[in-house]
């Protein structure tokens, strides 16, 4: 690195915040999850394991809380006094919310987690030194740390199983943080194809693994910048805005509203890219 490089205006490389700065130009990937449609079947989670080479840590380590499920189905039991076989439950799929103002990004000492121009919260495995500050500051706790050397020593994938690993996704070594990427490998492939053909990615051209696997179609994914995309229409219909501060339309209407769209922990101003649609039906038994 020469002296002239060091004296260069480095502020142009500084991470800029899409909410406060310029809007996204071509892509802003976003998701919506319809909790009314979610049956808690865990297919999304399984698909995520298969797509992203997630280590299957085994019962003991799962019990110790050292699991690596980027997509987790949370089960909340109904509190109406009924006992288990009759007790209802509600489910919430939780994954990295790809926040626009991600609390994890500012605290990483080495800048291993950054915002991409597509509005993704990216994790650079090679840069990560494993301080785990990002996870400590994540309100959703959706970051997963490689507590062991899962790929090589823990027998998470027996020899014959390594053939099923996804070649598009790197396996992560001991001591780095990882999390949901919105299947960035699929996004990149679709973008490359589109670029070769001199166009933008069509709506529906790219699916995340969880979306693809969901039997009830609870997950919608797409480009929020394109006004005609399914996801943009859904967000608009629910009057959920990416840059809204503290409250969405649903929270502002007094005496309840017909709107169902909300984002988790809106008041923390992390500006998540995942919208949830409130559940309206009774919980299933």
């Amino acid at each position: 690195m020469s002296v002239s490089n060091m004296l260069e205006n480095w502020s142009k490389f500084r991470h800029m915040h899409p909410v406060d700065d310029k809007p996204h130009e071509e892509y802003k990937w976003a998701m919506s999850i319809d909790l009314d449609a979610c049956s808690g079947c865990n297919a999304c989670s399984v698909a995520c394991y298969a797509e992203n080479n997630l280590p299957v840590v085994g019962k003991q380590k799962f019990d110790a809380g050292q699991q690596m499920h980027w997509m987790r189905i949370e089960r909340y039991w109904d509190d109406d006094g009924r006992e288990f076989p009759d007790q209802g439950a509600q489910f919430l799929p939780m994954l990295c919310q790809q926040c626009e103002a991600a609390p994890c990004e500012t605290v990483c000492p080495v800048g291993a987690t950054n915002h991409t121009a597509d509005g993704l919260n990216s994790q650079v495995y090679n840069r990560c030194i494993g301080s785990r500050y990002c996870s400590a500051n994540c309100p959703f706790k959706v970051r997963y740390f490689n507590w062991y050397d899962y790929p090589t020593t823990d027998n998470v994938w027996p020899a014959e199983m390594t053939q099923q690993l996804n070649p598009d996704v790197t396996v992560r070594g001991k001591g780095v943080m990882e999390k949901c990427t919105f299947c960035v490998q699929r996004l990149e492939r679709a973008k490359n194809n589109a670029r070769t053909e001199g166009r933008l990615v069509h709506d529906g051209e790219v699916q995340t693994a969880c979306q693809q696997a969901c039997p009830t179609g609870a997950i919608t994914f797409g480009n929020l910048v394109e006004p005609e995309s399914k996801i943009a229409r859904q967000w608009a219909h629910q009057q959920v805005e990416l840059a809204a501060r503290d409250k969405q339309a649903k929270d502002e209407q007094e005496g309840g509203s017909d709107l169902r769209g909300y984002r988790i922990f809106e008041e923390l101003r992390a500006y998540p890219s995942v919208m949830y649609l409130e559940r309206v039906r009774e919980s299933a038994i």
């Binding site: 919430l92 000492p109 996870s135 500051n137």
Partner: protein, 464 residues
């Protein structure tokens, strides 16, 4: 009560007494050294195991990503503050009772910072890549993230460590020259010769020495305050309930001075016995530190109460829940223990009889430090088990033996460095004690003169 050192020690005897500490400590010294070495061995064993297998052996898990390492890291950083308080702040305030004890307090500063630095390493998932956090020019044009409080931390600690090593060294130069002149030829004499930088004790040297020492002292004070404020920023700047508290920086600084002063009492008692410093580290001095510690304990208690009150009245449900969970949840025994040790035990120091009682003060100082260590743990862990996200509540992860072993080992490492230092270098500042004795003798002469004058006057009056 013993006589004050300033009245009882012959000036010329000071050199001999202090130099003797380099040669023949009590046998307990070797016992402490062996115990510390084996503790350190345990820590190293645990760390090697963790390095080989992965951080998972520490039984940290996904929401509970920080544990005893961070808590103990803050503890050791905190411990380092009182050295600066004693040697720099009290130096500027001309409190001459600090003179026999400031050298070891400074050494404590340096070595506890080194221990804290180790915890940063131990905590990292990929410690072999720790240099990514250092802003070094590189071909890839990748800088660390200057927004991150952890990076400020790394810089603040490194600056503080290097400055306090320099401060410790500068303050020792005249004493190193004494060692050089008095010791028999050997490797130690060679070492002192090099370190004394050709000190001859000329007027000019003394004048330069004074200016340099004062400058570094002034430089060190804001640094000490900023270091622990920045450590507090690790928490205060984050968004988590229980951490995002505005009063954390002063609270941390007060806690740091508190645990540091308590540690000074502990080490005071140990050094006094081991190196036969009974005549130098006298009970009136102990009394002074005890009073200082009590004052700081009250400041800490106040800031602790401020923190609770500001959380309680903040209407921030999440923070409030963390506070309630600290007092009633699974961490409750430790939390109450921390409040007991931190705010109730210091009242023992109010009782005059105990202020100069060595066994009582030794026990109290250990309890205070236990309380302060628990305080750090109670800052770090409860937030993880009762953060924002309800799905992960009551995720209680107990530290395994690996974590405890490394924490245990760090005490061995610190003791090893500290006792080694005291054996190798004069842990009582000879020249400052001499100054103190000289000033006191001048003052005494003055008093005597005025007394005799009065007597003469009276006699004259009587004669008339």
């Amino acid at each position: 009560m013993e006589k004050d050192i300033r009245e009882s020690i012959e000036w010329a005897k000071i050199n001999g007494d202090v130099l003797k500490s380099l040669e023949s400590p009590r046998p307990l010294f070797w016992v402490i050294l062996v115990v510390a070495l084996s503790m350190f061995g345990v820590g190293v064993g645990c760390e090697v195991y963790q390095y080989q297998i992965g951080m998972g052996v520490a039984n940290l898990n996904n929401p509970q990503v920080w544990g005893l390492y961070i808590a103990t890291f803050i503890f050791w950083i905190g411990m380092s503050h009182s050295g600066t308080l004693l040697s720099a702040i009290l130096h500027l305030m001309h409190a001459d009772w600090r003179k026999p004890i400031y050298r070891f307090a400074e050494a404590m500063t340096t070595f506890s910072l080194m221990t804290a630095g180790l915890f940063v390493m131990v905590h990292l998932g990929r410690l072999w890549q720790f240099y990514y956090a250092v802003p070094y020019p590189n071909e890839r044009w990748v800088w660390p993230n200057f927004q991150s409080p952890l990076l400020w931390d790394a810089m603040a600690i490194f600056t503080y460590l290097s400055s306090s090593v320099i401060f410790l060294f500068i303050g020792m130069i005249p004493d190193l020259a004494i060692c050089r002149d008095h010791l028999h030829p050997g490797w130690r004499k060679k070492l002192y010769t090099v370190l004394a930088l050709g000190w001859e004790g000329t007027d000019r040297q003394w004048r330069n020495f004074r200016v340099t020492y004062l400058t570094v002292a002034c430089f060190l004070i804001p640094l000490a305050v900023s270091v622990h404020s920045i450590v507090a920023s690790d928490f205060a700047m984050s968004q988590q309930p229980g951490w995002h508290v505005t009063s954390f920086p002063p609270y941390f600084v007060a806690g740091a001075l508190y645990s540091g002063c308590a540690a000074i009492i502990t080490l005071f008692v140990i050094l006094r016995y081991v190196f036969k410093f009974e005549e130098y580290m006298t009970l009136p001095i102990l009394k002074k530190i005890v009073r200082l510690t009590f004052a700081i304990a009250m400041v800490w208690t106040y800031l602790n109460a401020v923190e609770f009150a500001s959380v309680w009245y903040s209407h921030d449900e999440a923070s409030k829940a963390v506070l309630i969970q600290k007092a009633t949840g699974i961490y409750a025994p430790f939390w109450w223990m921390m409040n007991f040790c931190g705010s109730v035990v210091p009242f023992v120091m109010m009782i005059k009889r105990f202020q100069t009682s060595i066994p009582v003060m030794f026990a109290v100082s250990l309890l205070l430090n236990l309380g302060m260590w628990l305080e750090r743990w109670m800052i770090v862990s409860p937030t993880f088990s009762h953060g924002y996200y309800p799905y992960l509540w009551d995720n209680n992860q107990w530290p395994t033996l690996v974590q405890w072993g490394i924490v245990f080992g760090s005490f061995g490492w610190f003791t090893l460095l500290f006792m080694g230092f005291c054996k190798l270098f004069p842990s009582v500042s000879m020249y400052e004690v001499k100054e103190m004795v000289y000033h006191r003798s001048l003052a005494n002469k003055h008093v005597e003169q005025s007394l005799t004058m009065n007597v003469n006057e009276l006699e004259e009056k009587g004669a008339h």
